[in-house]
């Protein structure tokens, strides 16, 4: 699985991940407190310039943003029909600014940096005894490690359907996929504990 991070040496790449995330939170709060279309249009332009400065390329941007762009357009049209021009423009600009700023942060922060920030954010919860902060990184690693196996298992089950002349159906695929995948849990857990990765018991 390829992350949405894009290599580069721009100002945003060099900025500390924590600062970027805090900045994104604050700017999204600010965007929701502004209601006039004109300042929101300026915010959208600023976000667009920020995004363009990363030089992600039009094709890659199209792949990344088309679903989101479509959602924003549909919502803006909906707003136009029910609430008129002013509010539709405000919604369009606000959501565009937000989406582009968030995409810029995602494109300039590595997966590892994000996990470090999440782990740091989870430490107060660990002190309360709710979660173990280090488990988060382990769990993310497990998902990325086992996703290809789940996908190849899916292919095998689908081929088994075809070999027997059955049409693959959601139910007849889901059940073997679930049971075959989850049956591995005991072995994987034993392997993790044998290596003392979670340092318990």
């Amino acid at each position: 699985m390829k992350a949405l991070y894009v290599e580069g040496g721009t100002f945003l790449h060099l900025m500390s991940p924590r600062l970027k995330l805090i900045g994104l939170c604050l700017s999204s709060l600010a965007l929701f407190m502004i209601y006039q279309p004109v300042p929101l249009a300026f915010a959208a332009i600023a976000s667009a310039m920020l995004y363009l400065s990363l030089r992600i390329g039009w094709r890659q941007s199209w792949v990344r943003m088309r679903m989101l762009g479509l959602t924003i357009l549909v919502v803006a049209l909906f707003t136009l029909v029910f609430n008129g021009w002013d509010e539709a423009a405000a919604v369009l600009f606000r959501l565009t600014a937000l989406a582009l700023a968030a995409a810029a942060v995602t494109a300039t922060t590595t997966t590892g940096d994000f996990i470090d920030e999440l782990t740091a954010a989870a430490y107060p919860l660990e002190r309360l005894g709710l979660v173990r902060a280090a488990d988060l990184g382990l769990a993310v690693g497990l998902v990325i490690r086992f996703l290809p196996e789940v996908l190849s298992r899916y292919d095998a089950i689908r081929d088994a359907h075809h070999a027997r002349g059955f049409k693959p159906k959601p139910l007849t695929i889901a059940v073997p996929l679930l049971i075959l995948t989850l049956k591995n849990a005991d072995e994987i857990a034993a392997a993790i504990d044998a290596r003392g990765i979670r340092r318990q018991k």
Partner: protein, 191 residues
């Protein structure tokens, strides 16, 4: 959380991601493609229960936030949370927890198959349809300013598909509880 619980949740997250990657399956009787990711969320609750199912979906949201394209159509990154439909995505978490909570209480090993399937169906319906759509509609209505009633009208088109997914999740969960039971059982019976 034991290591086994952690691994079960992580494997389930991988299944939910896989369900978003595979091509949508057409159902025979209606011409609507089933993108199976919300089915995966309901399955997380019905198969693993509230705690592990909730953790599996939380992990999915973490993967989205850290910039992996794990949602159907290759979507991912913080921009997804900035979308007007983010309420449905965050709602997945509560959907899995509610579905799991109700499954643990309604479903007993001693029940007949029909009873178990019906109980799973009600749990998936409450979590995956009622809770998820309610959160999605509230966020959509508030964030765009179109208001909750109008957002609800737009939402109605997606309800039949999700009811169908709840039914599939119920049948699958019943088959899994027979083949490889994982759901913790709660209630008066144990006392």
């Amino acid at each position: 959380m034991t290591t086994r619980d952690l691994v079960l949740a992580a494997l389930f997250t991988a299944i939910i991601v896989a369900l978003g990657v595979v091509p949508p399956v057409m159902l025979g009787f209606i011409p609507v493609p089933i993108t199976a990711q919300s089915l995966g969320v309901m399955l997380a609750g019905t198969v693993l229960g509230a705690k592990r199912g909730g953790f599996a979906v939380l992990l999915l949201l973490v993967l989205v936030a850290i910039g992996l394209p794990v949602l159907s159509g290759g979507r991912g990154g913080l921009a997804v949370f900035a979308s007007p439909t983010a309420g449905y995505l965050v709602g997945f978490l509560f959907a899995a927890i509610v579905t799991g909570f109700l499954s643990e209480r309604f479903v007993k090993r001693s029940q007949s198959g029909l009873m178990q399937t019906s109980a799973f169906f009600l749990a998936a319906l409450a979590g995956g349809v009622v809770v998820d759509h309610a959160l999605g509609v509230i966020y959509l209505g508030l964030v765009t300013g179109i208001g909750i009633p109008k957002a609800f009208i737009g939402d109605l088109a997606f309800i039949p598909g999700d009811v169908l997914k709840a039914l599939i999740a119920a049948l699958a969960a019943r088959a899994v509880i027979v083949g490889y039971p994982l759901l913790p059982e709660r209630g008066a019976e144990r006392a």
